[in-house]
Structure formats: C-alpha cells, structure tokens
C-alpha cells in the first residue's frame, strides 16, 4: 500500500469539509477520517512497505514508530471534537474542521518526509495551518497568542530553513550533487564540510527546537496552549511537536554520519536539561492550569531531547515517551478543557472545588496529572524509567540527578495547581457557570480512553511496538 494515502486521505477529507454544507453534521467528518487514517496507519504499521533509498517520502522506520501514535491521538481528539463543536455550535466550524484534517495530512507528510526541504515545507505548512485554529475563540487574548505563535514560530522556521541551506551547502561543498534526501546526506557522511555541518546543526536545532518548544524558544507555547481550544492544544502537543522531534532525530543522524555525533548529543543534552529546569521552575509558580499543561509539555520535550542525546536505548525510550506522553497529555488537555469550560476561567485564583462541580473530569484530570508525573503503572512511568536507565547505563550520573530533581520540582508544581483547582469549596460564580456544563459521555469518554491507552501502553507494551522503536535505533543510530 502506498504511504501517500496517509497524506491524501485527510486532505481529501479537508476538501470535503470545506464544501460540506451543514454546520451541525460537519464535525462528524473528523472522527470518520480520523478512523480511516488510524486504520490505514495501522495497516501500514503491520506490513510496512520497503522504502526506496532515494525516495522523498516513505513509511520508513521512524515514521512507523511515531505516526500511529499521532494518528491514534488525533482520532480520540476528533471524537472529542464532535461534542466540543456541538457545545460551541454558535461558531461556524468549517475552517476548524477543514484545517484540523489538513493538519493531520501535513503531519503525516512531515513524519514521512525523507527530504530536508520537504520536511521543512511540511512543518512550516502545519505551523500555518494551525494559525486559524488558535484564534478559533476569537478573543483578543486568542489573537495575541496567535500573533506570538506566528512570529516566534516563524522565526524558528526561518532559522531551520537557513539550517537546511547550510546542510545543503555542506553537501555541495563536500562534492555532493545537492541531493537533500537524508539517505544521500547520510551516505555522504564524512564528506560533508565540517564548519557547514556544525552551523547547520545549530540552526536546525534552534529552528525545530522552537517548533518543539524547547527552552528558551518555548515562549509561544503557554500562550498558544492557554488560549487555543483544548483539542487544538492536544493535537499541537501530541502531533506538531512530534514532527519537530523526528526532524531533529533525522538531522542528528546526518550529523552523526558526518562524525559530529558527540557534539550533537552534548547540545541535545544541554538544551534538554535546560528545558526541564526552566519548565520545572515555571510550573512551581504558574497559576493557570492550561498554561501549566504547556510548561509540562516543555518539560517532556526536554525529556525527549535528553533521550535522543543518550542514543541507542535512550532513543528507544524517547520514542516510547512520545507515545506515552502524547496519549497521557491528550487526556490532560481534554479534561482540562472540560474543567475550563465548566469553570469559566483557567486560573486557580478563581477556580476551586471542581471535584464537586465536575467530578468525572476532575477525577480524570487528577489521574492524568499523576500519570504524566510518572506514577506507575501508566505509560510515562515506564518510558521515563527507561530514560533514566539509559542515562545511568551511559554513565551520565549528574545528568540523571538533575533529571530526577527537575521531575521532583515539576511534581511539586503540578500537584500545587491541580489540587488547588480540584479541592476546596467552589465559588458561587463558578457554581453558576458550571450548571451550564453537562459532563456528557462525549466529553468524558475520550480522555478516559486516552488514560486507558496510556495504562495499557505501560503495562503491556506490545512487542511489535518495541521492535518498531528499536528499528529506528538501528536505522538512525547504527552502532559502529
């Protein structure tokens, strides 16, 4: 089966959504195409075609190891989207639905891109497609968030383009024919010109790191996640950041082939730890539970890049973390969306006692918080444990200590906010607001499903998944 279907199908769906007449029934396109995409993705996952080395697009091991997670997350968010858009039925959702599906298609493209330029185009396109979604709420705050997202993200994307050029020139200078497929670049390996490669690495890391939301390029994240509808936040946190991460992985492989792997790993480790530290410090003080999710996501991006820096087992652990964190974080985003809608404010200054007003969402929120802070037996516990093991095995004692310290601080911060929101006696205004919000199955089941998935992922990680992750290690981190 041609992996292009993963890109085409959602785009077709987007087209249909764009012309679909009824505002009421249009949202159903989301789960329909999401389901289609999941089915296709898993069919490809089971028997994935061989990728021609020169191909620009392909369902290669990396895509195989990550794309299903994104597709799964999207499906659940889409299911949630139906009931979400029913609640928001006062707003036209044509653009919303169409662009969500477009994003799915572009994400599939980005994950499968095996060409530097193509990868860049896909990432940039996703960034742009997300813009209208961010100001779906149409409030001034939403515009401000979007503006910042666009300019910071745009700067990052510009830098990553520059980096791509540098890499291209490195190959050109090394006598390459200017073929920018990763396969070709890796093959050229040591032939690449060293100064250009290093410049390229810095630019690409900063560029894609901005998309990923690594500190100090994370500044757009709290605003965007705080103001966007929670479903968009979930898709951004679980999908877009993942594309950026896979991009960094692919580039790192080229750098390693050029013989600069150790430098790349050091930079990844540094920026990862720095992101975790910054995120933890912000979490200790933030008072807004949607921004809290953003900082927590920054922290987990740090974990991912640390995992990537460790190579081998670390990368496998990082890919595991992409799955576990994506799904768990999705549950958090969706339940936080419920609470936000019921409480009418995202700040713990005026939201209290949600365990009384929205018991189910609050329960999911608390459970998700514990899950995302590595409470066994949920997925993140296992993935983070693997990261720690990899770090210790490769002798990064101090890094591990810092890692654990940051996890501790983050836990302090998260519990502070979450229990501040859930516990206590609700204010009358909140009470009144919450009466308008009904915890229907449509808004409760999707996050619940995500939690269950994360639980299942932790306890019974399928062997085929482990193999998929190890295949990535074999492809991108060949042991000399």
């Amino acid at each position: 089966m041609n992996p292009l279907v993963l890109i085409i199908v959602p785009l077709v769906g987007a087209g249909i959504a764009a012309v679909w007449p009824s505002n009421r029934t249009r949202p159903w396109l989301l789960p329909v195409f999401g389901l289609l995409h999941v089915v296709l993705a898993f069919l490809l996952f089971i028997n994935s075609p061989v990728v021609a080395p020169g191909a620009w697009l392909g369902f290669d091991p990396l895509a195989r190891a990550v794309l299903p997670a994104v597709s799964l997350l999207f499906l659940v968010c889409a299911a949630y989207g139906v009931s979400y858009l029913r609640i928001r039925s006062e707003r036209p959702n044509r653009v919303f639905v169409a662009l969500l599906l477009t994003i799915l298609g572009l994400l599939s493209a980005g994950h499968q891109a095996r060409h530097l330029g193509l990868l860049w185009i896909a990432t940039e396109a996703v960034t742009l497609a997300a813009v209208p979604l961010l100001h779906f709420n149409g409030t001034p705050r939403a515009f401000e968030a979007t503006w910042k997202y666009l300019l910071v993200g745009g700067t990052g994307i510009a830098l990553s383009l520059l980096g791509s050029f540098c890499l291209g020139y490195a190959s050109l200078h090394g006598g390459g024919k200017g073929d920018l497929t990763f396969a070709a670049l890796t093959a050229q390996g040591a032939g690449l010109s060293r100064p250009w490669v290093l410049t390229a690495w810095v630019l690409l890391l900063v560029g894609y790191g901005t998309k990923m939301g690594l500190a100090p390029m994370h500044t757009w994240k709290p605003d965007a996640y705080g103001e966007a509808p929670s479903i968009v936040g979930a898709v951004l946190a679980g999908g877009v950041t993942t594309v950026a991460f896979t991009a960094i992985l692919r580039v790192r492989a080229v750098i390693a082939a050029a013989g600069e792997g150790h430098i790349a790993d050091r930079t990844l480790l540094v920026i990862g730890l720095f992101s975790m530290l910054v995120a933890a410090l912000f979490l200790l003080g933030t008072r807004d539970f949607k921004r809290m999710l953003a900082y927590s996501s920054v922290e987990h991006m740090g974990i991912l890049s640390i995992g990537a820096a460790l190579g081998g087992a670390g990368v496998a652990a990082a890919l595991f973390h992409v799955w576990s964190n994506g799904l768990t974080k999705g549950a958090l985003f969706l339940s936080a969306g419920n609470i936000r809608r019921a409480a009418g404010s995202p700040s713990m200054d005026d939201v209290r006692g949600m365990s009384v007003l929205t018991p189910r969402s609050a329960a999911i929120f608390v459970t998700g918080m514990f899950a995302v802070t590595a409470l066994p037996p949920f997925g993140p516990f296992f993935s983070e444990l693997q990261v720690v093991r990899a770090a210790l095995a490769s002798g990064h004692g101090i890094a591990t200590a810092m890692f654990l310290g940051c996890l501790l601080l983050a836990f302090f911060g998260l519990t502070r906010v979450v229990f501040g929101i859930v516990d206590g006696r609700p204010r009358p205004t909140t009470r009144r607001n919450a009466q308008r919000f009904v915890e229907t199955a449509g808004v409760i089941v999707p996050p619940l499903v995500l939690l269950v998935l994360s639980l299942w992922l932790g306890l019974f990680t399928p062997t085929i998944l482990r193999e998929a992750w190890l295949a990535v290690v074999a492809q991108l981190f060949p042991t000399p």
Partner: protein
Amino acid sequence: MTPGELLLLAAVSLVAGIVLGPWLSRIWLAFTLAGATAGLTAALSVLLGARDWEWRSAFSLGGEAVHLRLDGLSAMFLALLCVVGGAGAVYAREYWSEEHYRASAPRGRAWWSALLSSMGLVLLCANGLHFLIGWELFTVSAFFLVTLGRQRPEVRAAGRLYLLASHVGTVCLFAFFSTLAVRTGNWDLGPMREQAGLSPLFWIALAGFGVKAGVFPLHVWLPSAHANAPSHVSAIMSGVAIKMGIYGIVRFSGWLPVPAAAGWVVMGLGATSALLGIAFAFAQNDFKRLLAYCSVENIGVILIGGGGALLAVTHGDAPWGRLALAGALLHVWNHGAFKALLFFGAGSVLHATGTQEMSKLGGLWRTMPWTAGLFVVGSLAVSGLPPLNGFVSEWLVYLGLFDAVTSKGPAAWAATPAAIMLAMAGALAMASFAKAGAMIFLGTPRTQVAADAHESGMGMRGPMLALTGLCVMIGFAPILFWPMVSRAVESWRPAWTAVETPAPLATLGSVHVGLAILVMAAVAGLWRMAHVNGLRRGLTWDCGYATPLARMQYTSASFGGIVAGWFRWLLQPERKMRRPRGHFPAEAIRLEHIPETVLERIIGPISVTIIQVSTSVRRLQHGRLQFYILYVVAGLFALGAVVLLGAAQ
C-alpha cells in the same frame, strides 16, 4: 491451602473490596476480613513452616515477569499488615460511618482495600520494577486516605506535605532501583551480597525508605499527616505504613552488601530519632501529634536494633546482632499493635469530644471507661513497661546492646550511647503517656465537650480489645512468638540459624504472668481493705482551697515544662506571656506553641528560596514578543557556543 492459594484469595477479596466497597459496606467488610485472614494465614504458614513461598508468572507486566516471594521477613510484615488492616476495617465502619461522612466513607472503603493490597504487593514483590509500582500505588492510596476529610484545609495541607515528602523518597527509590537494575543487568531482587560494588547504593535506599519510615530529620511529613488523618488511617499509617520504610531498609540491608559505616549510621539515626522524637512528643498538646511523634521514637528503637544487627555483621557475625534484630522485628509487631490500639483510642476520644487538644479534655474515664482502660494498657505497652509486649522487644534490643558493649569491640562505642539514649527515651515515653492518659481521662472535664462525651460502640471497642489481647499475649508468652521472629532473622541472614533461644523468654513470660497475678491480687486486696475500713468521698485537697475549678488543674504544657526546658534548643517554643502585675493582678496570659522545628526552621526557608528563584525566572515570561525573539537569538548563540566548545575539543 498453600500460601499461594491463600494469597490469591486475599488478593481477589481485596480487589473485590475495591470494586464493591463504595456501595456495599457490609460486604466490603466481609471481603476485607476474609482477605486479611487469608493473608495472615499465609504469612503464619510461612513463618511457622520451613519453606519460603515463591512464584514467577508466565506473563509479563510492564515488560517484566511478575516475581513474588514470601519469606520470613516479608511474612512478618505481612502478618502485621493483615492484623491492623482487618482491625482498622472493623473500626472504620463505626468511626468513619456512612451517616457521618456520606461523601467520603465510600471512598474511604475503596482506598482502604487499595492500600492493603498495594502494601501487600510491596511486601511480596521480588522484582524492582513491580516493587516500585506497588510502592507508588501504596503512597497514593495512603494519600487519598489521609485526605478523606478533604474539606478541611489543614487536612489538605497535611496531605500535600505527605505527598511531596514521599515523592522525594520515591525519587530516591527511582534512582536506587534503576541503578541497581543497570548494575545487575536485570530487575530481579534477591540476595546479592557478593557483588561488593553495590554497597554505596545502600545510602540512596536508606534515604528513600527513611523518608517513609519517618527517621528523625526526614520525619517532617509524619506529625501533621498522622494528626489530621482519620484515626483508623493514622492507625494503619503509624502501625504499618511507616514500617514499610523499615521493611525496605531491613530488606535491602539484608540483600545488598552494606558499606562498613552502615551500622554506625543506622544506629545513630535510630538513637537520634528515639530521643528527639519522644522529646517532641512530650511537648505536644494535641494528643494525636503526641502519638505521631511517639511513632518517630519507636522507629528509632527499631533502627537501633537494626543498626546493632548491621554492626554485628560488619564485626564478624557477632551473635548479639541476632538478638538486636530479633528485638527490632518483634518491636515492629509490638509497635504496630499498641500504636494502632492507641490511635483507635484517640479516635474514640475524638469521636466523642471532637477535639484533639488535651487542654480541652479531662475526666473522660467516667463517660468512656472502656476507652480509658484500653488506652492505659496501650500506654503501659508503649512505655515499654512490664508485663506487656513493649518491654519484651525493648528488652531484646537492650540485651543485644549490652552484649555488644561487653564484647568491648569497636561496636561498643556505638552501643553504649545507644543504650543510654534508649533508656532516656523509655523514661520520656513513660512521662509522655502518663501525661497523655492523665490529661485526657483523669481529673475533671476542662470544657463542655469533654463533659458530655460518650463511650463509643462495640464496633470501635472490638478492634481495640483484640489489639489489647495481642499486646498482652506477646507480653505474657513471648516464647510463642520467638520461632516466627527467629525465622525472619534467619531469612535476613541465613548465617544466624541457631535452635536455642539466646534469651530466657520463657522465664520472662512466666515472670510477667506472675507479676500480673500479683498485681490483680494486690489491687483487689487494697480495694477490699479500703471498703472494709470505710470509704468516704471528699473534695480533692487543694491546700484547703474549697472550690477548685477545672481550669486549676495541671495542664499538659506545664506537665511537660521541665523537659521542654531541657530541649528548648530543639523545640524552640514560641511563647506569648503577660505576667500578672500590681497587687491585685487582673489577668495574666501564657500561651506556648511548639513549632515543627525541622519543617519550619529548615525546610521552610529552603523552599522559600526555591519559590523566589522560580518567581524571578517567571518574570521572563512577561509577554513582550520582542524579548521572546531575543531569547531565540540568545539560544542560538548559546548553542553555538556549546558547539564551538565541542568542536574545539
């Protein structure tokens, strides 16, 4: 039935308890009791039998095959867990009843079963990964039990403190187990003393488990958690949960090679906890806090024993190590029994009066004679007074220490101060409980709530009676329990297998029985004499003062004043007083508050600094886009610098 089947039964009924608990309280009780009985039977069958029980699953959970093992040591703790768990379940049905706590009672039942099962999992797991899982589940379910009365802010604060503190411990264990797994190549746990390289890990484990055990400097979470939790929860927290920390320390000091200094450190920690813990206890006015700090003391006693054992191991397997460890393990049981009893008693007082402040109570023996009597028995036991169980275990520990001293080896340098501090701690414990019992139950009621208290029903008295029975039994016939204890000791150190009992427990038991008989005879005799000679009721003689008031009674603060003076450097009491002035002084005030010194004077400032750092960092997110872009550029240059450094090398 084999232990395996029994444990399966226990697990099934506990899971059923979790599922059904919220709705069917009676059936939940049945299931919990069934589970506890099954677990107890399994534990006893291992303790009295010769063989350990071990099981490896075919399937794998979290990528590891489930590996359960019930040996002497874990069986010892499992038995305690089942006893207190069952008793607490009975107690809870009346104490935290449906009609009083409509919302939280169902939750409480489910979490109770969850707590029991997770602690059981911790005791059974012989695989690091699953040990961690069980440990975390145990921590979290304990958290939700502590915060059952969540609408009260101080309960929430206590719960959060507990959660954060135990998370610190968990992170240590995270590091400990993963390092172990990396060093040994797999998650399997078991004896690995020959791998000398592992010995430094003991320190991480000590820190991680020490937090849970409430060893002195790490005890910060313990008082508030115990004081603010529902009393049956306090009972299991203090009776069993903190023993999980002890279990971890003992377990891994037995399995892993320990550094040479381990014995010294553990014994030092133990002695410190014993003396300082009880000093804090004596100064308290809230009787549940007093009990909580007393737990710190008892943990200290246990650690002194454990430290003795470690010292003995590092000093050529001296036989006194066996005595010390046996004493420590028996004290684990004893403390579990009498501390649960005392917390149940405290709960019954709280249930009747609604206050935890001793200065508001008094004279309760009239209205709640049962509680009073059982509380006194508990006090005697916890003060380590003969003829009850507390004395037996402390006596064993003493014997171990004395032998260490008479050995005149280097160990004596640790054992001598430990013995002396243990003695002082014992005297202070006696003082604390003389104070607690007297302030709560004797004299006249200091307030109205105390005056119209009522005795609690059979559902609360039953468990207390059962535990009292256990205390008396261990006190009167310690020899019956010796085989189990020595079985546990053997599984800690196989070298220490000896048939003969190193201490004349039989004689001690018979002396205790004789003493008890004599006491009864004497009491009866004196009572009769008094009645024969004629017994007149009169006002208390207050130097001729004819109309004594309740407020004229000695208060708990004044009772503890002398000792509090000795420990002022530690307690740092906050005083507010106005001396009486003039010839006809109108009023004088003297308020005293004992702060949580370690928490408020050490942890507090540290966390404040961290918060300050975070606030100053958060200022960077000021919303100015221009600066955000500047950050990106800065990041670019910083990473460039990193790369250049790397390239330079």
